[in-house]
Amino acid sequence: MVRGEKSVIAINSFLPFKQKRYALNHLHKYRFIFISPEMLALDEVKKALLTCSIALFVVDEAHCISQWGPDFRPDYLSLGQIREELGSPVTLALTATATPKIREDIRTALKMKTPDEWIYSVDRPNISLKVETASSFTEKVHILKQYISTLKAPGIVYFSSKRLADELADEINSALSKNIASYHAGLDQEQRILIQQQFLHNQLEWVFATSAFGMGVNKENIRTVIHFHLPSSMESFVQEIGRAGRDNKKSISILLYSKGDEQIPINLLELERPSLRQINDFKKWHRKVDTPADLEEKIGITDIQNRVLQYYISHERNDQYWADTVFNKMTDRLTEKYVKISQIVAYAASPVCRRRMVAESFYETKELQQPQCCDICGLHLKEFEMDEVFEDKENIADWKERLALLF
C-alpha cells in the first residue's frame, strides 16, 4: 500500500499468528479488509467476518473465477457462497479481461442476477500493433537485438521460458551494454522486488520476463512491449501489452512470430492435464501424504494440477465415476484452451487490421482504424525509436559513495 488510508488490514497466510488473532477479534475497527479467497474459506475467518457488516464486497482479478491454468484459483469459485452468507452485500467484480464468456462465469459464480456491467473497450488507441515474422529462431534473436538497440525504453520482452529470458538478457546485455534484467518465478522474492523497483525507478531499461512480471506493477512510461513467444491467449496478450503507455503517450506492441510457434503453448497444454492414471493415483494418495509437495512428487503432477484436483475432490461427487468425470471436465477445458491458442495464431497471421482482430475476439465491433494503427494498416516505426542515447551506466559507485547516497 503506497498511499493514504490507515485503517486497513490485510489478512493472509503471512500474517503472524498473534496479529492474525488480534485482527480477527477487532475486524469491525477496520474500514478496509483485504483478504484472499483461500483465507475466506477458513471457518474462523468467516465467523469473524459475520460479526461486522460488510457494505461493499469487492472481487479483484475476477477472471480467476473463470480462467484455468496458472491463474486458476479454485477458492474463487466459493466466493458466491460466502457472499450469500454475508447477506449478499453490494458487490463489485473487477477484471481487465471481460469477454462475454468470462462475464457469464463471474455472474454465475458470484450468484449475481442482473448486475450493472461497465465494459470498457479493450482497444488502447495509443498502443500501435505490429507482428514481425521470422523464419528461424536465430533470425528472431537477431530481430530482437535490433529492436532493443533502436526502440524506446523502458520496455518489457515476454518469453514463455525462464531459461531463454535469462540467456538472452545475458547475451544482449553484453552485446549492447544495455541495462537489462530478467525476471521470472525462479528468482527469490527479494530479487524479484528489486528488479521490479529498479524498473519503476528507471534504473533498468528493459525487463526480459515470463508472464509472472507486471501484476501489481504500475509504471506509466513503458514505451515498448515485445512478445518473443506466442502468449497463451488473447486475454493474456491484451493484459501484457496493456502495461504499455499508461501515460497515454504513444507506445508499441510487437509480436515476433515464426511458423510453428504455437507448438510451445500446445505442448504446455498437453502437460497441464493429468492422465487418467494420475487422477486415480490422486484419489488414492491425497489423504496419505504430509504436504502438497510430497503428493506432487509421489504421483508426478504439477502444483497447478494439484490445486485443480484438490478442488474437484471437495466439489465433485466422490463416487466410482469421480476420476472419469474429472478427466472429461479437464478435457473440455483443454479444448477451450486450444481455441484460445488458435485465436492468437489468427492474430499473428491476420491479413486484416490487427486492432480489429483484438476487438473482435472480445466481441467488440466498432470502427477502430486510426493513424499508426498496425502494420497491416500502415505503420512508421520511426516514431517509436529512441531519440536520445542513454548514457553508459556501467559505472557504479564504490561502496562508500553508495552508502553516502543512501543516507
Binding site: F14, D188, L194, Q197, F407
Partner: protein, 374 residues
C-alpha cells in the same frame, strides 16, 4: 569449474562416498530432517547448511553430471560418489584463485541471518526515504514480521529518528572498515536500497564483478555471517546494529514436529524402546530424534545413552582414524552401537570445537586467506 561446482565438490569430498548425492542437495537447501541435520554435523559440513535455499534440483543435478563428465567425481555405488585425484587438484587450484567463504556458519545462523538482513535492509530503506522527506515507497521486504519489527523500532525512537540515520550510517562505515572485515563491502552495501536508489541483485553484482552468481551469493552470506558475529562480540561499538540482531539470536530452536513429541517422552524419563513402543515408531526413528535433540539443545546430556568411558573410547578412535566412517570406528569399538557412535560424534563436534578442528583438516581453509583479496 563454476562456484557451484566447487561447493558441490567440497561436499562430495567431505561426505567421502558415505552419503548419496541427495544428502548434499538437502544439506545445501537446508531440509530440516533428522538425517540431514546429523549428516551436517557428522561430516563437518554444517557451515554449508541451508546456504543455497533456492537451489533447484535441476541445477544441482546438472552440476553433478558435469562433475562426472569431467571425471572430477566417480560413482562408487548407489548414487554415492568420491572425488577423483584430478578433482582434488582442481578444487585446490580453484580455491587458490577464488574466494573461500570462511565465515559462513549455515547451521549456527540458518535463517536468522536472513532475518537480520531483511530487518537491516528495510530499516535502511525506511530511514533513507524519511531523510529525503519521502513518506511513500514500496518496501523491499514484504514479510509482515519484518515490517512489524521496523514499525515497532520506529515507534520507540519517536523524534530521535534523524539522529538514528546518522548513527546507522556511521555504524555501517565502522563495520565495513573494521580490521577483520573479510571482503570488499560492495557485495553487501550495494544490495541495500534507499531513496530513489534500488539495491542491486545478486546477478547484477556478479556481472559487475565478472564472477558467477553463486560466488556473489556466498560472498554476501560470508559478510552477513561475519557481521552478525562481529556485532555480537562488540555490542557497545554497534548499539544500533546490535538492536537489529536483538531477539533473533535467542529465538527458540525449531525441532521437527515428530522430534518435538519424542522430546516430551524423553523429559518424562521414557527409555528409547518405550518411546518407540508408545509412539508405534521404529527404534531407529527415535534414535534419529534423540540425535537431533542432542544437536539442537546444548544442555542435552547423552550420558544416559552412552556411558562416559565408552564416549571417550569412541572419540579417541574417531580422532585416531581421522575418519568419520562409522563402520571403521565400530570395528575398533565393537561394544558401541552405531547410534552411540553417531551420538558421540555429533555432540563432541557441537560442544568443544574439536569437531571443527578435526573436520577443517579436510577443508582447504588455508587457501581462503590467499584468495581473500581477490
Amino acid at each position: 569449474m563454476t562456484y557451484l561446482d566447487a561447493i558441490l565438490l567440497t561436499c562430495f569430498r567431505l561426505f567421502n562416498g558415505d552419503r548419496s548425492r541427495s544428502a548434499i542437495y538437502h544439506l545445501l537447501t537446508g531440509k530440516k530432517t533428522s538425517q540431514t541435520i546429523q549428516d551436517a554435523h557428522l561430516y563437518g559440513v554444517s557451515n554449508l547448511f541451508q546456504t543455497l535455499p533456492a537451489l533447484s534440483r535441476f541445477d544441482f543435478d546438472s552440476s553433478c553430471q558435469k562433475l562426472m563428465d569431467d571425471k572430477l567425481i566417480f560413482i562408487i555405488e548407489n548414487n554415492r560418489y568420491k572425488v577423483t585425484s584430478e578433482g582434488e587438484n582442481q578444487l585446490e587450484a580453484y580455491y587458490e584463485k577464488h574466494f573461500f567463504p570462511l565465515h559462513v556458519q549455515g547451521w549456527n545462523y540458518q535463517d536468522r541471518a536472513m532475518v537480520f538482513w531483511k530487518r537491516l535492509s528495510l530499516l535502511v530503506q525506511t530511514l533513507s526515504n524519511i531523510y529525503h522527506n519521502e513518506r511513500y515507497f514500496y518496501p523491499v521486504q514484504r514479510d509482515p514480521e519484518i515490517q512489524y519489527w521496523v514499525r515497532g523500532i520506529f515507534l520507540t525512537w519517536g523524534d530521535r529518528r534523524n539522529k538514528k540515520i546518522k548513527s546507522l550510517h556511521s555504524e555501517l562505515m565502522q563495520l565495513c572498515q573494521c580490521s577483520g572485515f573479510p571482503d570488499r563491502p560492495d557485495f553487501f552495501i550495494h544490495r541495500l536500497s534507499g531513496y530513489r536508489l534500488i539495491g542491486m541483485t545478486t546477478d547484477q553484482l556478479a556481472k559487475h564483478f565478472k564472477m558467477d552468481a553463486a560466488e556473489a551469493h556466498f560472498r554476501f552470506l560470508n559478510i552477513v555471517h561475519f557481521s552478525i558475529n562481529h556485532i555480537q562480540e562488540n555490542p557497545v561499538s554497534y548499539p544500533l546494529l546490535n538492536s537489529v540482531i536483538e531477539g533473533i539470536a535467542q529465538e527458540k530452536v525449531i525441532l521437527t514436529s515428530s522430534t518435538e513429541k519424542t522430546k516430551e517422552y524423553v523429559s518424562r524419563g521414557f527409555s528409547l524402546s518405550d518411546i518407540a513402543a508408545a509412539r508405534k515408531l521404529k527404534e531407529s526413528t527415535i534414535e534419529d530424534h534423540i540425535i537431533e535433540l542432542a544437536l539442537m539443545t546444548p544442555s542435552f546430556a547423552i550420558d544416559r545413552y552412552v556411558n562416559e568411558s565408552l564416549q571417550e573410547m569412541i572419540w579417541s578412535q574417531a580422532l585416531n582414524l581421522n575418519h568419520k566412517r562409522l563402520r571403521e570406528i565400530k570395528i575398533h569399538v565393537p561394544e558401541a552401537s552405531y547410534f552411540q557412535i553417531r551420538l558421540v560424534l555429533v555432540t563432541r563436534g557441537r560442544g568443544d570445537g574439536k569437531w571443527k578442528d578435526y573436520s577443517s583438516k579436510n577443508l582447504a581453509l588455508n587457501h581462503s586467506e590467499k584468495a581473500k583479496g581477490k
